[in-house]
Symmetry: C2
Subunit: 133 residues, 2 copies
DNA sequence: CTCCTTGTGATAATTGTTTTCAACAGTAAG
DNA sequence: CTTACTGTTGAAAACAATTATCACAAGGAG
């Protein structure tokens, strides 16, 4: 099954790449809507699913409610701010999180995901301010 | 603020401990209902939230699916089966996943979560079988 | 006992996502 | 150029998980 690049599909991909971030489906929907006012949210969801199926983008399943999508395919982990839910990339060398396979209960390991939580610099400042008052 | 142990609360906690697993709210609901047929799912959600707020249980946010709850408070990670969504504990020594704080974009790190995905032994067998056919 | 707080069950509302479906291209064959 | 086929779209409904609302019952404090 080969992938046809429809206008919508292309636009979604382009906007995701442009943002360089980790957008949710509806954030992306809002952006694409500026160029294609009649596009539907379902189309965004559909195409994000398709694009991640063919590995053109990456679907992040990060704690919190919404799924996020990333145009960066390289293997990397994420840090996310528990205050403002901002997400950023983390470059952690793979061998730093080498897994003890013998403890894996007989599982065939297909992947690992490391998620670091913290408070981003901006929110640290905000918190510092509110404490002063 | 002190926690009152209502019958429902106690039952939910008891069933979660009894299971030793990582139950979703509605799995727990089904179990508790056997003893308290009139309990409502909302009560289960409510109390799981409360119990994890006071650190009597742990809320797991895995893979964007349903939240799961764990009566095991010790710090540990999880491996979960991409086929059947079974979840098991992983004992990974902390220093094996030591983080390079200097890469953390200025974040104050509050936690980390490692999730390993794989195929459990049971599902490996299942897959082997279907391939034979 | 009355007042006040809290917890409860039932149900509605909300949120995020997926499915359905009729209309509509794009392509390939006849 | 028709016909048939395939995949895509937008709109709306369906769905699943969770949370909020609300009337009411239970259990103190005074």
């Amino acid at each position: 099954m080969q992938l046809r690049m429809t206008n919508q599909r292309e636009m979604i991909l382009r906007e995701l790449k442009k943002s360089k971030g980790h957008l949710t489906a509806d954030e992306l929907y809002e952006r694409v809507k500026k160029f294609m006012p009649r596009i539907s949210l379902a189309t965004v969801y559909r195409n994000l699913e398709i694009l991640s199926d063919v590995n053109m983008i990456r679907k992040l399943e990060i704690s919190g409610r919404q799924k996020r999508f990333d145009s960066e395919l390289e293997d990397h982990d994420h840090i996310y701010c528990v205050e403002c839910h901002r997400i950023e990339n983390l470059e952690i060398s793979k061998n730093q999180v080498e897994l003890p396979v013998e403890d894996a209960h007989g599982y065939t390991i297909t992947g690992r995901r490391l998620e670091v939580t913290g408070v981003c610099p901006r929110c640290q400042k905000k918190i510092a301010k509110t404490k002063k008052q």
